[in-house]
């Protein structure tokens, strides 16, 4: 599919952008991390001039998600370059590469319709390393003549890379540091806020304030505490990490239910404690398992294995908790009648 020449960008048409991140951009990034309007953060695909690039300036390729674009723009401060934005449907580089929207076809197409070969004299493109799952460098080379160089994973290493054109092994290794995990928490929280409120209200009427509080804690443990403490929970799998965390946070509630309200019968208190000890840790574990999708550190095979191994256990425990609850409710009603 050869595009018509009159749709090609001429050097004079190239929009100019700056390295500067405005307060409005920052605000936009902040609300983006809360999951607001995440499909609407799209930069128009095409070629942009950053500073005053010439025919020798480097060409940096990125996704058309505003956060990816802004990260690149600010990280390359002090360098005049071109930015080529691929149409990834508003999705970041890593996810888009997995779906191949950040891919060989789109890159080749974009090189053609921006007439890149008439704008720069060299034949080199710098792509983010995390885009490599979608792009075959040798195919791009044979189809367009442009060589693909993979830059560093993290934007903060870009300065160094643009100077030396070499990425150290450290720059090539994906990390999932506290800060990376921290910025993912708001979205997790927003996702599960409504179910959490509904569950807490229902449980308040069914089991009282302690049970309602326990449900909130179980969900917050899976969405907020889990991402923070992930590397320090001493098991290899996300599900078992989640179970452990769930048990730790629910244990105080179960014990409190056992000891509080001494005026009620022992079996009632024990039943309630058993119900929450069975039903809530799997909720935390389930949320923890879902966090695999937010990490760049889990393999498909591994997650499949986790699903097959632990989802049945979660379901049985949760079901067991429900059964105990139903039995308790029935006994209570019968007790009231008798």
């Amino acid at each position: 599919m050869k595009p018509k020449t009159n749709t090609q960008q001429r050097p004079t048409d190239i929009p100019v952008v700056t390295h500067h991140i405005t307060p409005a951009d920052r605000w936009d990034h902040f609300v983006a991390h809360w999951g607001v309007n995440r499909r609407g953060r799209r930069v128009k695909p095409g070629l942009y001039a950053l500073g005053k690039p010439t025919g020798d300036s480097p060409v940096l390729v990125t996704a058309n998600y505003t956060l990816s674009f802004d990260a690149l723009r600010s990280a390359s401060a002090g360098f005049d370059c071109y930015i080529m934005v691929l149409d990834t449907k508003g999705i970041n580089v890593w996810c888009a590469a997995g779906k191949e929207t950040f891919g060989t076809e789109e890159l080749v197409h974009r090189i053609e319709i921006t007439a890149l070969s008439t704008i720069v004299d060299h034949r080199i493109l710098i792509l983010p390393q995390l885009g490599a799952s979608g792009v075959a460098a040798h195919e791009v080379k044979s189809r367009t003549g442009f060589s693909v160089e993979y830059g560093p994973i993290r934007a903060k290493d870009l300065q160094e890379y643009l100077k030396t054109r070499e990425a150290t092994p450290e720059m090539r290794r994906v990390r999932f540091d506290l800060l990376d995990r921290l910025i993912l928490i708001p979205v997790e929280l927003v996702h599960f806020l409504l179910p959490m409120v509904i569950a807490a209200i229902v449980l308040y009427f069914l089991g009282g304030p302690q049970v309602a509080a326990a449900s909130i804690v179980a969900i917050l443990a899976g969405t907020v505490i889990f991402p923070l403490v992930l590397p320090w929970i001493p098991t290899p799998n996300f599900s078992t990490k989640g179970f452990l965390l769930g048990i730790v946070v629910i244990l105080p509630f179960a014990l409190a239910l056992l000891w509080d309200n001494p005026e009620t019968m022992v079996w009632q208190r024990a039943g309630k404690a058993l119900a929450i000890a069975l039903a809530f840790p799997p909720v935390t574990a389930f949320l923890a398992l879902n966090f695999t999708g937010s990490t760049p550190i889990t393999s498909k095979s591994g997650v499949e294995c986790e699903i097959h191994t632990y989802i049945p256990i979660m379901a049985w425990m949760f079901g067991g908790g429900l059964v105990v609850t139903v039995i308790l409710l029935i006994l209570n009603i019968l007790g009231g009648v008798l």
């Binding site: 999951g35 996810c95 792009v135 090539r172 993912l184 695999t292 999708g293 498909k300 095979s301 997650v303």
Partner: protein, 101 residues
């Protein structure tokens, strides 16, 4: 206790390798290293099956069944009868897509 992440689908045929170093460049988990002019798998258990090495190996020396390591996307695909779990698209789970990488 089992570790779900010790086995994966990565295989490599050193006879096809020309030593272009592409695999060790693109791998985000330092699974490959270059030794004596050819690639060698030094860290097999760290592979996250992203598929970058396979896609960028010009001689087809590497095979890996790549896909998203996302439980939500997989369960969503299983429940809705989709063949391939993906994330981030319209009407799809968003998973990792909130980070700016």
């Amino acid at each position: 206790m089992i570790n779900a992440y010790t086995t994966n689908t990565l295989t490599y045929n050193s006879e096809l390798c020309t030593g272009c170093k592409m695999c060790s460049t693109v791998c985000p988990q330092a699974v490959f290293a270059q030794e004596k002019q050819i690639a060698r798998i030094v860290n097999p258990e760290s592979c996250i099956e992203c598929g970058a090495c396979q896609r960028n190996c010009p001689t087809g020396a590497i095979f890996v069944e790549s896909g998203v390591g996302c439980a939500y996307a997989m369960m969503y695909a299983a429940l809705t009868g989709k063949k391939e779990p993906t994330c981030g698209g319209e009407d799809e789970p968003s998973c990792c897509c909130s980070s700016d990488n």
